[in-house]
């Protein structure tokens, strides 16, 4: 049989053909339509607001064009750079830690034989994900309190690690705040991330483990030569996808930070919040929009960079 090479059409599909295709898949287009309209209204139309970044605008009078003045002010503020650095450091560290812990927990869960116990543990692990950050902050403020009502400090005093008059204010100290923040995030988010990794692990062919057992591989050997490689692609994909979102950090930082730790805890979105609500006057939305625009640009660069990495590791498949 003669093989015929099919070339990608060089010309645009004719209008008739396009209409026919759309009609053929009209159900899918119909389903897609609300999402498309939603994206236009809530994601693209608001981009018109970017113009406020180049103005002084207090939300009442007409905006006054000031060019790059807001950006000049922003780049000249030490607090801005501190917030920017904090955002990157805290987000990336949190991402690495939660992903690593999720992988480890997934591997341990995968080794559980009793299916009911496995499911129960998994459910308990991912329940914190559904707790609101406000409630989480309230609970951990109590647990980490530097008084004899604080669970952690009381435990450390009882086992002799701390003196009663030298309790640690975990959430009130710049030295300990990030450590506490990461722990709280691990507690809250690890379980949820295991869902993705457990799904990947469930898809590994069991015959591979049987073959490995025949070849004399123990538990660690199976994990090293079968489980890890199977999981690697998923780990990388999840990591890259989440890396694109590192600039979006507000709620968790806002509820856990306080006046004493702003040097290490203030992130870009909380910086914008304080600019708006601490000014004692009607805020300049032009300045806060400029900060938001900068944040979005950095996020965009991250997404594109991650897209390139993704193509390299996932056989040419990007994330966008």
């Amino acid at each position: 049989m003669k093989k015929t090479k099919t070339k990608a059409p060089k010309q645009k599909m004719s209008g008739k053909k396009l209409a026919a295709t759309i009609y053929r898949y009209r159900g899918f287009y119909l389903m897609f339509l609300p999402v498309f309209v939603f994206a236009i209204i809530f994601s693209y139309l608001p981009m018109v607001g970017i113009r406020y970044a180049f103005t002084n605008y207090n939300g009442i009078k007409e905006p006054v064009f000031v060019g790059l003045k807001n950006f000049q002010k922003m780049f000249g503020m030490a607090n801005f750079w501190s917030a920017f650095t904090n955002t990157i450091v805290i987000s990336v560290t949190k991402l690495i830690l939660t992903t690593a812990f999720a992988v480890v927990v997934s591997l341990f869960l995968n080794e559980l034989v009793n299916i009911h116990f496995k499911k129960a543990v998994q459910t308990i692990l991912y329940l914190p994900h559904f707790m609101s950050w406000v409630v989480t902050a309230s609970i951990f403020s109590l647990i980490l309190a530097p008084t004899n009502h604080g669970l952690v400090n009381t435990f450390l005093v009882n086992i002799g690690v701390l003196q009663p008059d030298k309790m640690i204010y975990f959430l009130g100290s710049e030295k300990w705040w990030r450590f506490s923040y990461y722990l709280i995030n691990i507690w809250k988010e690890t379980g949820w991330q295991t869902v993705i990794f457990m799904a990947t692990l469930a898809g590994i062919n069991t015959e591979l483990y049987e073959a490995a057992a025949i070849d004399g591989a123990g538990r660690w050997g199976k994990m090293r030569y079968i489980t890890f490689p199977a999981l690697a692609n998923t780990i990388l994909t999840v990591f890259i996808l989440n890396l694109a979102k590192v600039m979006n950090l507000f709620e968790s930082a806002f509820v856990l930070q306080n006046d004493a730790v702003l040097g290490t805890a203030n992130v870009l979105e909380t910086y914008i919040y304080y600019q708006t609500f601490n000014s004692g006057a009607i805020p300049n939305y032009g300045y806060t929009t400029a900060i938001g625009l900068f944040k979005s640009l950095v996020g965009c660069i991250l997404v594109l960079t991650c897209n390139q990495w993704s193509k390299k590791v996932r056989d040419g498949r990007g994330i966008v």
């Binding site: 159900g27 899918f28 119909l30 389903m31 339509l33 609300p34 999402v35 309209v37 939603f38 209204i41 002084n56 207090n58 939300g59 009442i60 009078k61 002010k73 503020m77 030490a78 607090n79 403020s141 309190a145 530097p146 008084t147 004899n148 009502h149 309790m167 204010y169 959430l171 009130g172 100290s173 710049e174 306080n258 006046d259 004493a260 702003l262 040097g263 203030n266 304080y274 600019q275 708006t276 609500f277 601490n278 000014s279 004692g280 006057a281 009607i282 805020p283 300049n284 939305y285 300045y287």
Partner: protein, 528 residues
């Protein structure tokens, strides 16, 4: 065919969901009047002969916070009663109390302004400067309300405290009120203190006794704190009202001296001394270490749990709330309201939130006369705004409240006025609707027993020992720098108090980080 039907159904469901999400729950602002005098409602008989005839609005759109009865607290019944009394329909926009000013900002920016809006002093001054608010100076000057205010001592002064360059853009419904320091009587008894402190030295001695002694009577020394608060510095003016004994004459924001010249109180020696006092007290363990992260509800809960004994909190009704909650926790509710110590001089009566008419209101004179004035008419409408709705907030029926709790049960005879259990917190009773009867600016015949002795005593002590706060005008320079400046000041106060920085190090950082420059720029703009 089935697939097509399913996909059509899903698409329809998604569209419906989007439409629901995008639906604006806030009612469109209705015209304040329909513009036609021929449709004036019956029942409006008040006319002020000296003033040109003012048209009564058919409906008003009001934007209010949680200080007015919410839906959960019979808000609908409240406004229904208001309509019955006045003949005016009210469209209510009432965001969640904690997010009120977020929504106010969005509403003002969105352009669809309500007719009436409640604003705190910061937003009042800011929006007045931007022309958002209607100038009610003349309307007030020729109103009956002015006469009623002048008939009651102190009320005219509260109105005057809202004037900006002589003009009035909002109407207070009550005194601003402020905080007074409450001390548990049992704690004083247990440590052998027989008289309340009158100066800072005696105050510190009390702090020491409460921290190192056994004031809670549990047999253990040193397991209590003397004082706690919601933060080392308040998040809104006056910033010092939760720890007045430590701040004394210091003020961390902008003040006007007797010559009318503005300056930044943070840059003064008084403020440095205040920070040192806080640091010394914190190091000695007098101040609850979790003050940094406390909210007001955290403080109240710790107070009710007997973790600390000195609490500076709102005067008046809150005195009774604190008492009843202590008793509900099995503790003595005896509290001593302290007169201000010598170094404090007087507690601060904050600038009260104002009821403002926006400049987009089509009939501001009518709204002023028939809504703003009526709220303080000394009659039925003021009674509604003070005590609420019969059967919802109060009753005169013979009944026993909390009958299943012997210790708490209260029996009332027929005709005896009493507040009803709070819908959201049934173990406590309402104490007011919107206007605190003890803070009212216009006299109203109060039902017998509507105010407890505890609340009344605390309020009278505060009223006799308070000084008015002041409005700080808003400038562009303040918008530009005060966000960063306030954040820096709060950070330094917290770090000095907790011993992470000395006062000198804090002020060196203040200067190095640009705080002094920002402060000077704002002061210059205020004095222009």
């Amino acid at each position: 065919m089935k697939k097509k039907l399913v996909s059509l159904f899903l698409a329809t469901a998604m569209v419906a969901t989007m439409a629901g999400c995008g639906n604006n729950d806030t009612p469109a602002s209705t015209p304040a009047s329909n513009g036609s005098s021929s449709e004036s409602q019956a029942g409006s008989s008040e006319q002020t002969p000296a003033v040109a005839e003012v048209e009564k609005p058919d409906s008003i759109t009001v934007m209010i916070d949680g200080t007015v009865p919410t839906k959960e607290n019979y808000g609908d019944e409240f406004w229904k009663k208001y309509t019955e009394l006045t003949g005016i329909e009210v469209n209510v926009i009432q965001p969640d109390h904690d997010a009120y000013y977020d929504v106010v900002g969005q509403t003002i920016a969105g352009g669809d302004w309500p007719d009436v809006i409640i604003l705190s002093s910061t937003y009042y001054a800011g929006y007045a400067a931007e022309g958002v608010l209607w100038d009610m100076t003349d309307a007030y000057a020729s109103s009956d309300l002015k006469a009623r205010h002048e008939a009651k001592a102190g009320s005219a002064g509260v109105v005057d405290s809202l004037r900006i360059n002589g003009k009035l853009f909002g109407m207070p419904a009550t005194h601003g009120n402020g905080c007074v320091t409450y001390v548990k009587q049992t704690w004083l008894d247990n440590v052998g203190i027989t008289s309340v402190p009158t100066n800072y030295e005696e105050y510190v001695a009390m702090l020491d006794a409460f921290t190192t002694g056994d004031p809670d009577g549990d047999g253990v020394n040193g397991n209590t704190f003397a004082v706690s608060a919601a933060g080392f510095a308040g998040k809104e003016a006056p910033y010092t009202n939760y720890l007045p004994e430590f701040y004394q004459d210091a003020y961390p924001s902008f003040i006007q001296d007797e010559n009318g010249v503005w300056y930044d109180g943070f840059n003064t020696d008084s403020m440095k001394a205040a920070m040192q006092r806080l640091a010394d007290a914190y190091a000695a363990g007098y101040i609850d270490p979790t003050t940094l992260t406390n909210g007001t509800s955290d403080c109240r809960n710790k107070f009710y749990s007997d973790e600390f004994g000195i609490f500076t909190y709102w005067a008046g009704t809150w005195a009774n709330n604190l008492k009843t909650n202590l008793e509900a926790n099995g503790l003595s509710g005896d509290l001593v309201a302290l007169p201000p110590i010598a170094e404090v001089g007087a507690y601060v009566d904050r600038i009260t939130p104002a009821w403002c008419i926006t400049s987009s209101c089509e009939n501001p004179e009518g709204v002023f006369k028939y809504f703003i004035e009526a709220m303080q008419d000394g009659g039925d409408v003021q009674f509604l705004f003070t005590y609420g709705v019969e059967g919802c907030h109060w009753s005169t029926a013979a009944e026993t409240l909390w009958a299943d709790d012997e210790a708490k049960a209260k029996t009332y005879a027929e005709g005896e006025f009493h507040f009803l259990p709070n819908a959201e917190k049934p173990t406590t009773a309402y104490t007011k609707a919107h206007i605190d009867p003890m803070l009212a600016l216009v006299d109203l015949e109060a039902p017998a027993n509507s105010v407890t002795e505890t609340a009344k005593n605390a309020q009278e002590l505060f009223n006799a020992n308070c000084k008015s706060a002041f409005i700080v005008p808003t400038t562009e320079t303040m918008s530009e720098f005060n966000g960063d400046l306030t954040t820096l000041k709060n950070e330094l106060i917290a770090k000095v108090t907790m011993g992470e920085l000395s006062v000198d190090e804090a002020y060196a950082k203040y200067e190095a980080d640009g705080g002094k420059a920002w402060s000077d720029a704002i002061v210059e703009s205020l004095n222009q």
